[in-house]
């Protein structure tokens, strides 16, 4: 349906040739804009209707006081299903520390949260198919689990700013929720507005980059330069992703275009994870609670993990 519409606009309405570069780019753009935004609105609305979004206050209450492996499992799972705005990462970090949750577990949550969420997962299935979606989600869970464990080895507690330890948190406020159907509908519409309002620009940008890549970069250039399975393509993709930042949903159309031109699966996944999880703005926000040493270590652990994952998938594929 979306493809049909895109063909109609690009080749019918605008009269572009199906073989031309502009035609291919416009067709890709129209198809992904309509498909991704339709999916986005649908998924967020349904999740909102079910009130399935967990608040960080409840996550904290779930995780506190559990043995390490249970706490980590919960933190990673909850990180994956709760979309939270990076502006909340400071209070979240402090709240976790105050609850006595180990820092390694907190890092597992901080890794999983931007990288995986149910919205991105559904769109991945819609755009790239369930196999790649499953690969991406399981790779993300693995990295979050072991990345947090690796951080713990370095005893990151010594790099937490002193004032963080002194903060005492009040009882989590129980806020009344309107559970009627109308209340749920209003809440769901609010969620759609809030989340789409937050990420639409990233998504459009991602689709634009994907469309240009799809239309203007020839496949043989890709194989020659981003070359098949050469070992250095994966760390190069990870390095490229560090200064680049986008929402997990925004990077999907870029990955779609890359895979379409024959970039290896592991290389593409490594770039996706690096762009979604490693970002300068996020690091600067976290600087308020931890010192540079811990941030540097965090970036290094993630970069190494993404590289390993990329290599592994390139070998398997």
């Amino acid at each position: 349906m979306f493809e049909h519409l895109a063909n109609l606009v690009a080749f019918g309405l605008l009269g572009l040739g199906a073989e031309s570069r502009v035609g291919a780019a416009v067709q890709f753009f129209v198809m992904d804009v309509t498909k991704i935004f339709a999916l986005l609105i649908l998924v967020i609305y349904v999740m909102g209707l079910l009130r399935a979004m967990l608040s960080p206050e409840r996550v904290r209450a779930f995780v506190r006081g559990r043995p390490d492996w249970q706490a980590r499992g919960l933190a990673v799972t909850l990180g994956a299903v709760t979309p939270f705005c990076s502006c909340s990462s400071v209070p979240l970090f402090i709240g976790f520390v105050e609850a006595g949750i180990p820092l390694g577990v907190t890092f597992s949550f901080l890794i999983a949260s931007p990288m995986i969420n149910e919205v991105a997962a559904v769109i991945l299935v819609g755009i790239l198919g369930w196999k790649l979606a499953a690969l991406y989600v399981s790779a993300g869970l693995l990295v979050a689990w072991f990345g947090g464990m690796a951080m713990q080895v370095f005893r990151p507690e010594r790099w937490v700013e002193d004032y963080v330890w002194k903060i005492r948190m009040g009882d989590a406020a129980a806020i009344e929720q309107d559970q009627t159907l109308l209340g749920r509908h209003r809440y769901a519409v609010g969620e759609v507005k809030a989340i789409v309002g937050r990420i639409w620009a990233w998504v459009l940008l991602g689709i634009g980059v994907g469309a240009i890549f799809h239309g203007f970069v020839p496949a043989d250039w890709v194989t020659r330069h981003l070359g098949g399975n050469a070992w250095y393509t994966v760390p190069a993709a990870v390095l490229l992703g560090i200064p680049l930042y986008s929402n997990a949903t925004g990077i999907i159309p870029v990955a779609e275009a890359m895979l379409g031109k024959g970039v290896a699966v592991g290389t593409t996944l490594a770039l996706m994870m690096s762009v979604a999880a490693l970002s300068l703005p996020e690091m600067l926000i976290l600087r308020k609670v931890i010192r540079w040493q811990a941030l540097g270590l965090f970036a290094a652990v993630l970069a190494i993990a993404f590289t390993l994952v990329g290599w592994a998938f390139n070998v398997i594929a």
Partner: protein, 78 residues
């Protein structure tokens, strides 16, 4: 007089929330006191981790998003 506090470390949605409350009070012709709390220790002291949060007369009534307009009107009038 009702005392409102908007909890948040200065993000855009916190600004919007404060404006929505001020606007609703003006429309209802109700005088309120409105304070923006940006200090992390105080925000967490209310048990709020997801900002923006809204405190009405020392009770947390909202957290995690910009509140809906009719919700704000209810706080101002109620």
């Amino acid at each position: 007089m009702k005392k409102f506090k908007v909890l948040g470390s200065g993000c855009r949605n916190c600004e919007i929330t404060a404006n929505v409350i001020a606007q609703a009070a003006k429309e209802a012709g109700v005088e309120i006191e409105l304070e923006k709390v940006t200090d992390m220790a105080r925000i967490l002291g209310y048990g709020v981790m997801s900002t923006p949060g809204v405190v009405l007369d020392e009770t947390v009534v909202h957290a995690g998003s910009v509140p809906a307009p009719d919700q704000v009107r209810a706080w101002v009038r109620g």
